[in-house]
C-alpha cells in the first residue's frame, strides 16, 4: 500500500486541483455558517440606533424574564478593556470596547448581546432591553470633522486620529525645477467586501477547564485569539480559535469583532451552552468594516522630458467611529507610490479622520485601490500635459530591479518594465492610443488606458514580527501531514502551501494532508493579509519540507553509509545524486525510518520571518516587505456617447508573480481582483446618510455579475524572486489597484473627458459630455 498515486510529482508550477476542492463542489466543505452543536443558542448583538450618544442606562430586566433567553451581557459583564488592530505601531489607536458602556459612536455600535434558544426569541429579547441615551451632535463629513469645534468622537484624542506625514526631499525645489505642474482632486467612495459568507462565529466555554473555543470565519485566527485573550483577560492557552472553510475575506475578516467576544462571553454566562452569532447580509453591510472613502488632493511637477520632479498633496480619509486597521491603510496607500515610481521629492499629509459613520478598515488593497485610482489618473494627466505617451512617461519614472527607493524599500526582483512591455504589446497600445482613426467617430468611441501598481508581500501590523511556521509529520505508511497556521479564505493557500511543502520534500502533491489554522494545533501565523501567505507562509512551508527531507535522508545515509550531502529525494525516490543511482522509493525510506533498527519519527519544522523593518510612521520610511510585486494593466473601452455607458472591451494584466506556484490559481486571483476593480469603477458605492448605510443589500449595492465581465488576459512575468519560495511572490491584491485608473485613462482617450469621481455611472459621463459640448 502506498499513500501516493504519484499523480502530481514536482507540483510547483502546476495547476493541481485545490486540495479542498472536492468538498466545495459537492457541498461537503464545512463553513462555520454550517455548524450546529447540541444545545446551541442563537446570539444577537444589541446595537445603538444613534450615531452619537451617551449611554445613560441599560435595563435588561424585562428581557431576562423572557422564556428562552439564556444569557444577556452588557459592558457590566466585561473588563472594559479596549482592543484594536495596530497594537505594535499605534497603541494610541486601540480605541474600541467589545461592548461600549459610556458612549456610542456610530449606528450599530455594540452595547450588549443576548443568547436565546432561537432567533425569534433572541430578537424579541433585544426589543425588551431598555436603553436610555442622551443624543449628542454627530459629524459625518471628514472635512467637517477636522474643523475646530466639530463634535469630538473620542475623548483620548482629537478627530484627527491618525496623521501620517510622508516627507522626503525638497518638494518646493522639485516643483520649481518642473516645466509642468498640475493639481487634481480625486474622490473615492466607500465600498464593501461582500464576502458571500457573512461574519459568523460560534463560541463555547468549557466549565471544567475554563477554556473557550471559538470557531470563526476569519482571515487571522491568531489575531482573534490575541484580542479575545486581552479583552476577556484570559491566557492565550485557554482560548482556542479554529478556522474552517471561509467564504471569502478580502480584509473584512482580519480582526476580532464584538460579536466574537460576545459569543464567548455569552456561552460562559449560559453555563457553557454554545452560542452562534451569524450576521445577516444587512448587518454585514452595515456593521462589519468598509473601505475608507478618501479624497486625494495631488499636486505634481514634471520636466518636459517626462522626469517626475515632485509629488505633494493631502489625503483625507473617513475613518468612521473607530480606528480598526486605519493607520496601516493610510501608510500602505502612500508606500505603494514609492514602490512604483522613483520620486525624490515627496510630501503627502495623510489624515484619517474619526466621524460618526460606520467603521472603515482593511479591504483588499489596503488603501492602494484609492491611491491607485488617484495617482495613476494624475500621472496620466501629467504625461498628457507635456504631450508624452503615458506608457513612455511611466517607463521613464518607474522603479527598477535591485534598487533602494527614496523611503528605503529594498527592491530585489522587479518585473515592472517587462509588465509594461508585454501588456502594451499584447494590447497593441501604439496602434490604439491617441489614434483619431481608431474608433473615435460616431456614437461609440474607443479608448485605451494604462495603470501600473506594486504590492507588498507582508507587513508588520499588530506584532513586532510577522513570522509563519510549519510542521510536517510523516507516518510509517508514508502519509504526510502538513500543519500551517496560514488561513485559507478561498484564495487557495492550503493548496499552494502544500505544493511548496511537497516539492521541498520531494513527494507527490497528493500525499499531503493539510491541517491549517487552529491555534491549538498548528504553528503561529499572523494571518492572511498584505498578500503575504505565499511568500511568508510559503517560505515556512519550504523550510519545513526541507527539514523533514533531511531527517529521512539522515536515516538513509546512516543505513547505506553514504554522505548525506550526496542524497536527495526527487519525485518520490531517494537518489544518490553523486552516482545518479536510485536507492529506494519514498515508502521504503519511511519503512526504514520506522524500522526495528531506527524507530525514528519524522517531524519536520520550519519558521520564517522576513528581514524587514517596520515603517516609521512619522516619515514613511521603511523596508516593510521581504520582496515586492509589480504589474501593469491595460484597459480598452468603448463609450456610448448617447447613453453614457462604458463597455470594457478587454483588460490585459501583466503581473510579476515571481513564480506561479499554481498558474490557474494565480490567474483566478487576477481575474477575481479585476472583477472587484471593475465593480469599484462602475457600480460599487457604499452610501450612507446621517451615519446609516442606505444600500445594505445586493440590489442596491451592485457587485459585478457574470455578464459584466469582459475578456481578460493574464500575462505572468516570472522574475524568480531570490527571497520567494521557489521564486514566488504574493499577488492577491495588486491586480485590483490600477483598474479604475486604467479605465479612467481609457475613457479620457476615448472621449477626452477626465473622470475624477468614482464610480463612473452613465449619468456622470452624460453630464461630463454635456459640459464638454458647452465648452466647445
Amino acid at each position: 500500500m502506498t499513500t501516493s498515486n504519484k499523480k502530481f510529482l514536482d507540483p510547483v508550477g502546476k495547476s493541481v486541483p485545490r486540495i479542498d476542492g472536492k468538498g466545495m463542489v459537492t457541498g461537503q466543505a464545512k463553513y462555520v455558517y454550517d455548524m450546529k452543536l447540541p444545545n446551541m443558542l442563537v446570539g444577537k448583538m444589541l446595537r445603538s440606533p444613534h450615531a452619537h450618544a451617551k449611554i445613560i442606562n441599560i435595563d435588561t430586566s424585562k428581557a431576562e424574564k423572557l422564556p428562552g433567553v439564556k444569557a444577556i451581557i452588557t459592558a457590566k459583564d466585561t473588563h472594559k478593556i479596549k482592543f484594536g488592530s495596530n497594537e505594535f505601531f499605534f497603541p494610541h489607536t486601540i480605541d474600541q470596547m467589545a461592548l461600549e458602556s459610556e458612549k456610542v459612536r456610530y449606528i450599530g455600535d455594540e452595547i450588549g448581546a443576548v443568547a436565546a434558544v432561537d432567533e425569534k426569541t433572541a430578537e424579541q429579547a433585544l426589543k425588551l432591553i431598555d436603553v436610555e441615551y442622551e443624543i449628542l451632535p454627530a459629524v459625518f463629513d471628514p472635512v467637517e470633522a477636522m474643523k475646530p469645534g466639530a463634535p469630538q468622537i473620542h475623548t483620548a484624542m482629537s478627530n484627527l486620529g491618525v496623521i501620517l506625514p510622508t516627507n522626503f526631499g525638497n518638494v518646493e525645489r522639485g516643483l520649481k525645477e518642473s516645466d509642468y505642474i498640475r493639481e487634481d482632486t480625486f474622490y473615492c467612495p466607500s465600498a464593501a467586501h461582500t464576502c458571500l459568507e457573512t461574519h459568523v462565529c460560534l463560541g463555547q466555554w468549557e466549565e471544567f477547564s475554563d477554556k473557550i473555543t471559538l470557531w470563526v470565519s476569519t482571515q487571522a485566527p491568531f489575531k482573534i485569539r490575541e484580542a479575545l485573550a486581552k479583552t476577556l483577560k484570559m491566557n492565550l492557552n485557554n482560548i482556542r480559535v479554529i478556522k474552517l472553510s471561509v467564504g471569502g475575506g478580502f480584509g473584512g475578516k482580519l480582526e476580532m469583532l464584538p460579536m466574537d467576544f460576545a459569543a464567548c462571553l455569552l456561552s460562559k454566562k449560559a453555563g457553557g451552552m454554545p452560542v452562534k452569532i451569524c450576521y445577516s447580509r444587512e448587518e454585514e453591510f452595515s456593521y462589519s468594516r468598509r473601505k475608507h472613502n478618501m479624497i486625494y488632493k495631488l499636486k505634481s511637477g514634471v520636466k518636459k522630458d517626462g522626469t517626475l520632479m515632485a509629488i505633494t498633496g493631502e489625503v483625507i480619509a473617513d475613518g468612521g467611529a473607530y480606528c480598526s486597521y486605519g493607520p496601516t491603510v493610510m501608510a500602505a496607500a502612500m508606500m505603494r507610490i514609492f514602490m512604483v515610481y522613483q520620486i525624490k521629492n515627496f510630501r503627502i499629509s495623510g489624515f484619517r479622520v474619526y466621524t460618526n459613520n460606520p467603521i472603515s478598515g482593511a479591504i483588499r488593497g489596503f488603501g492602494g485601490v484609492q491611491s491607485g485610482f488617484a495617482v495613476e489618473s494624475h500621472m496620466d494627466l501629467l504625461a498628457r500635459g507635456i504631450g508624452l505617451d503615458p506608457v513612455e512617461f511611466r517607463l521613464k519614472n518607474i522603479t527598477t530591479p535591485n534598487m533602494t527607493t527614496t523611503n528605503k524599500m529594498i527592491i530585489s526582483s522587479n518585473g515592472l518594465k517587462e509588465c509594461i512591455g508585454k501588456s502594451t504589446k499584447s494590447a497593441e497600445w501604439t496602434k490604439k492610443y491617441n489614434n483619431p482613426d481608431y474608433g473615435k467617430k460616431g456614437i461609440l468611441r474607443r479608448g485605451i488606458g494604462i495603470g501600473i501598481a506594486a504590492d507588498v508581500m507582508g507587513s508588520k501590523m499588530y506584532k513586532s514580527h510577522e513570522s509563519a511556521g510549519g510542521i510536517i509529520k510523516i507516518e510509517e505508511d508514508g502519509s504526510v501531514y502538513f500543519f500551517t497556521g496560514a488561513a485559507d479564505t478561498g484564495q487557495g493557500a492550503n493548496t499552494a502551501l502544500s505544493q511548496i511543502a511537497a516539492q521541498a520534500l520531494g513527494v507527490s502533491f497528493d500525499r499531503i494532508r493539510c491541517k491549517a489554522a487552529d491555534t491549538e494545533i498548528t504553528p503561529f501565523d499572523t494571518g492572511s493579509f498584505a498578500s503575504r501567505v505565499t511568500f511568508i507562509s510559503g517560505n515556512a512551508a519550504l523550510l519545513t519540507g526541507k527539514d523533514a527531507k533531511r531527517q529521512i535522508l539522515e536515516v538513509v545515509a546512516e543505513e547505506h553509509k553514504i554522505n548525506i550531502d550526496d542524497l536527495d529525494i526527487i519525485r518520490e525516490e531517494v537518489v544518490n545524486t553523486k552516482e545518479n543511482l536510485v536507492l529506494m522509493n519514498f515508502d521504503k525510506a519511511l519503512e526504514l525510518c520506522y524500522s526495528f533498527d531506527y524507530g525514528r519519527q519524522i517531524i519536520g519544522r520550519g519558521t520564517y520571518n522576513p528581514t524587514t523593518t517596520p515603517i516609521d510612521f512619522r516619515t514613511g520610511e521603511g523596508n516593510v516587505s521581504g520582496s515586492y510585486g509589480f504589474e501593469a494593466q491595460i484597459a480598452e473601452v468603448e463609450v456610448n456617447t448617447e447613453t453614457g455607458e462604458v463597455k470594457v472591451i478587454k483588460i490585459w494584466d501583466a503581473h510579476d508573480v515571481g513564480k506561479a506556484i499554481n498558474p490557474k490559481s494565480v490567474e483566478s486571483q487576477i481575474e477575481g481582483s479585476l472583477a472587484m476593480g471593475l465593480g469599484y469603477t462602475f457600480s460599487e458605492n457604499l452610501q450612507f446618510k446621517n451615519g446609516r448605510i442606505v444600500n445594505p443589500n445586493f440590489t442596491n449595492y451592485r457587485v459585478p455579475r457574470i455578464s459584466a465581465i469582459p475578456p481578460m488576459e493574464s500575462i505572468f512575468i516570472e522574475t524568480n524572486d531570490p527571497h520567494g519560495p521557489f521564486g514566488a511572490k504574493g499577488m492577491g491584491e495588486a491586480a485590483l489597484l490600477p483598474t479604475a485608473a486604467a479605465i479612467a485613462n481609457a475613457i479620457h482617450d476615448a472621449i477626452g473627458i477626465r473622470l475624477k469621481d468614482l464610480p463612473f455611472t452613465p449619468n456622470k459621463i452624460i453630464k461630463a459630455l454635456k459640459e464638454q459640448e458647452g465648452q466647445l
Partner: protein, 165 residues
Amino acid sequence: MTNLIINNKKYQFELQGHETLLEVLRDHLGLTGTKTACDEAECGACTVIMDGKAILACITLATEAEGKTVTTIEGLANGDELHPIQQSFLDNAAVQCGFCMPGMIMASKALLDENPAPSEPEIARALEGNICRCAGYPKIMDAVKDAVKRLNAGNGQRVKTPDTE
C-alpha cells in the same frame, strides 16, 4: 404532513407552513451544501433544482415543493464519482472560497439539462443571478463550457438527476 422528494429520497415533514425550502434542507435535513448569502433572492447561493428548473430555496416555501422532486448539490455526485459539471468546476479552477459553488453548479446543471449546447450569452444569462465574489467568473464560464463538452462526449452516458428523467 408534507411529502417531499429530495435527492431521490422520500421525506415526510410536519411543517407549520412558513418554513422555506432552504430551512428544511439545512435545518431539518442537515443538507448544508445549499447556502444563502442574502436570504432575499439576490445572491443565488441557495439555487436548487425543482422539477427540472433552477429555483431559489430561500424564497420557496417547503410546502410548494410538495409532490415535486428536488435536487440539491448533495444529489449530484454518484458516490465518490463527481458529476461531470462538478469535475469540470474542479478541473478548471473555478472554485475559490466555494461558498457560491453549490448554487453555481446547480444553476449550471439546470441550464445544461434544458440546453445541452448553450452559447456564452446563454450561460451568462443562466448564471446572472449567482454572485461569485472571489474568482470573477472567467473560470466559471470555462468550467460550464468544459462541462458541455464532457457531457456531450459521454455518448449517452450523460448523468441525469431523477427530476429530469
